[in-house]
């Protein structure tokens, strides 16, 4: 059926034209201080967003109406594709995902610049120019080398369908969340560059974009977790993270952004680390674009080849411009970015934040090193190498443990300086909890030192966080006479930034407990005839039945696996081995029995000609905690995002109680 696809290409050209106008008008308006030009530039930015949205709607319309005259629609959808996945097909391929990326960018830009203008920010002009410049780059790609609206002369009767691997609820939300995260960082990046261009060295750029930064970081965090959940439930290898180059590409900006979220607190409270903060946001944005580049270029072998295309080479000059331009502006304004304070003591909140930053950056560097080492090695010595999970795990276990320890210690230490005696008093209880956990695990026979240390440190940090909540809510119990739960809610809602942060920390602690469990993983595989069984861990799996059925899209072959433990049938699992007809592609659907203690993970990789099942089964201890921790993190993010800017007056009045670790102590 014909659709509105014809509108797509002209809309993109119009969007490009308006982006160029926005770039010139915003830049000139900011440079010459001309309000009329700035206003025109902002309106051009709105028009850019509007026309990009129109192009995206045109493509969506073509997908929904199955307009197979459009090559993209043929390549990534089919008549039988279910409704929700038709929307997902918008970002299922390279051209569509770029269009979606650009849509997010232009809409975010319009909203952020509008908000900044309304708040009377002097940075709106330059920020608009930077954002329009970025939009010009992506729209150029869409107009020429990655046009989603290329038409076919011979119209096929049906499309090729969306890759069955992508037909999963997780895949409907994972890419948009990652993109939201990646694109979201362009807002603080643009305002940081704007502050430098405008010669303003104060902290208004990150204060005014704080919500954007948190929003982008939250979306990226949730996106990464959902990617892991998708890998776990769809790919059938029993794990959730493989240190695949594209996973790494999403993880690197997350690491630098997390460092940034912490280090801006020091600038806010102590007016230090100014160069560091602008450099971190430049780095984060460059890594986010680098992530897109890795995904698009196919330069490294990866599971994420869905969106591979010929546009990789376009990204290199853009990346170079962002990095050199960004850091160049920082260098140019270096004089105005001197810190206004100095470190007072090694044992201080500032030092803890600094250590946190060093570790996060080291982690980001290690991931970058492992990801690009093969490319560098080939360029330098001509030998082709690959870097595997043992490298990444060896680096991340110690860094991760140190970070968990800091998560617990950091909030206990006061700003500026703290006496050793005071420090000893506040760490006493958490330390006892950590030691008790370590001893208990050792007695229980946990033989992995890494796992034992990790869980002990998690206990330390969890108790430290709990103590902070207890201390924070005490005033409302003693003075206002509230019961403990109302006091807790009052404390959290009065200081959402701090307690939201602690809730996120608590989520991280739970996730690390889940990671620690992976050291106890058990894996078995066997060919099992119907009625036969195989052991895995404490379980006995019995292949009881094989059922087949047919849907519009696929032939379904489902095994009924009885799960026995101690001679008792405790559950039944239904793994499938299906054939997606459009692509003639077989695909396994995993069955998982998840409990807080352990996951039983069963996948049928083949039914052979005689009906025997090739079964792979895993026992994954504590994996449940990863998803639980992620949910807690999400709750913390909601608390953080719901909080406004800090209210200094009230903070000062209550400082003695909710923040016992301040310098007054």
């Amino acid at each position: 059926m014909r659709s509105l696809a014809g509108l797509g290409h002209p809309s993109l050209i119009a969007a490009l034209a308006f982006a160029v106008i926005a770039l010139v008008a915003c830049a000139l308006g900011a440079r010459r201080g001309r309000a009329d030009l700035a206003l025109a530039g902002t309106r051009a930015l709105y028009a850019t967003a509007g026309f990009t949205a129109l192009a995206a709607l045109a493509l969506l319309n073509a997908l929904v109406l199955h307009d197979f005259s459009v090559e993209y629609v043929v390549n990534y959808s089919s008549e039988s594709l279910a409704g929700g996945y038709l929307v997902a097909a918008l970002w299922g391929g390279m051209e569509g995902s770029l269009l979606f990326w650009t849509l997010l960018l232009t809409v975010f830009s319009a909203v952020a610049v509008r908000g900044a203008r309304r708040a009377g920010s002097r940075l709106a002009g330059w920020a608009g120019a930077v954002l329009a410049g970025i939009a010009v780059f992506f729209l150029l790609l869409l107009v020429a080398p990655a046009d989603p609206f290329t038409t076919l002369s011979a119209i096929p009767p049906d499309g090729n369908g969306l890759n069955p691997l992508l037909q999963s609820p997780g895949m409907v939300v994972h890419p948009p969340l990652l993109y939201t995260g990646f694109v979201g960082f362009s807002i603080p990046f643009a305002f940081a560059i704007a502050a430098l261009l405008a010669g303003r060295s104060d902290d208004s750029w990150f204060r005014s974009t704080r919500r954007w930064t948190l929003f982008a970081w939250s979306a990226l965090s949730v996106g990464i977790v959902l990617g892991g959940a998708w890998a776990y439930t769809e790919l059938g290898w029993g794990g959730y993270w493989a240190w695949d180059p594209v996973e790494n590409a999403s993880f690197m900006p997350w690491l630098t952004a997390t460092a940034f979220l912490h280090s801006v607190v020091i600038q806010e409270k102590r007016r230090m680390f100014k160069v560091w903060n602008v450099s971190l946001i430049v780095l984060t944005y460059v890594l986010a674009v680098f992530g897109t580049f890795l995904t698009r270029s196919g330069i490294l072998s990866s599971i994420h080849t869905f969106t591979e295309g010929p546009i990789g080479k376009w990204f290199l000059p853009f990346l170079a411009l962002m990095l050199v331009g960004g850091l160049g502006v920082v260098a140019w304004r270096l004089d105005s970015l001197r810190g206004e304070n100095r470190f007072d003591s090694l044992l201080s909140r500032e030092s803890a934040f600094l250590a946190n930053n060093v570790l996060f950056l080291a982690a980001a560097f290690a991931v970058l090193w492992g990801t690009i080492y093969p490319i560098v090695a080939e360029l330098v010595s001509g030998t082709r190498l690959s870097v595997g999970p043992p490298f990444f795990n060896s680096v991340f276990v110690p860094i991760g443990l140190a970070l968990i320890l800091l998560t617990g210690i950091g909030p206990l230490i006061s700003w500026r300086r703290m006496s050793r005696g005071a420090f000893a008093r506040v760490v006493r209880v958490p330390l006892a909890a950590g030691a008790a956990t370590a001893i208990a695990l050792w007695v229980a026979g946990v033989d992995s030192t890494g796992a034992l240390l990790a869980v002990a440190l998690c206990a330390f940090t969890a108790v430290a966080i709990a103590a902070e909540f207890a201390r924070g809510s005490r005033i409302y119990r003693t003075r206002a006479g509230l019961p403990w739960h109302s006091a807790l809610v009052r404390a959290v809602s009065r200081n959402r930034r701090r307690y939201g942060g602690y809730v996120v920390h608590l989520g991280v602690v739970l996730i690390v407990i889940g990671f620690a469990g992976s050291s106890g993983k058990v894996e078995r595989q066997a060919v099992v005839p119907q009625g036969g069984s195989m052991p895995v861990g404490d379980y006995e799996l019995v292949f009881e039945e094989l059922d087949s059925s047919t849907t519009d899209e696929k032939d379904v072959f489902q095994a009924t696996i009885g799960v026995f433990r101690g001679g008792e049938r405790v559950a039944a699992l239904y793994p499938q081995r299906n054939l997606h007809r459009a692509q003639n592609q077989p695909q396994s659907e995993v069955a998982i029995r998840s409990t807080p203690v352990e996951d039983l993970y069963v996948v049928v990789t083949e039914f052979d000609s005689s009906g025997d099942a090739v079964i792979r089964a895993f026992v994954n201890p504590l994996t449940w905690w990863i998803w639980a921790g992620a949910a807690v993190m999400l709750a913390g993010m909601v608390v953080l995002l719901s909080g406004g800017s800090p209210r200094p007056a009230r903070e000062a009045r209550l400082a003695g109680v909710p923040e016992p670790a301040v310098a007054t102590r």
Partner: protein, 143 residues
Amino acid sequence: MQSPTAGSPKRRAKFAVGGGIIFLALVGLVVWAMTRPNATSFYYTTSELETASLAAGAEEYRVNGNVVPESVVNEGLRTTFDITDGRTAVTVVTEETLPDAFWTAMKAGSSEVEVVAQGKYDGDRFTASQVLAKCPSKFKAKA
């Protein structure tokens, strides 16, 4: 970057020493991690694998090549197939799960399926502990 140090020379020295130790520890960590077993592995084409003088046994390699469709034999858990770079063929044996994309391409009789196998080579057969499939423009080929 501004030096994040305190005013007094003594404190400044403390920060410098502390910072130096942390920096060296982190560099050391990365260097150490690179030398862990199978942290890095050489990546060969089938011809290079044949001619390279490999330390048999312990070390894992990666080899890539196109699958010869008619060579694929599947018996229960074990799959055997040949991969080639057009000049030299190497037989790969694996008991691991092969990616779904691999089987899709085999059903279609495609000879353009490139795989990357990681494992050990005894000069005769390549025993893979992991096989990744790359199917460039799988869907576009049909369009």
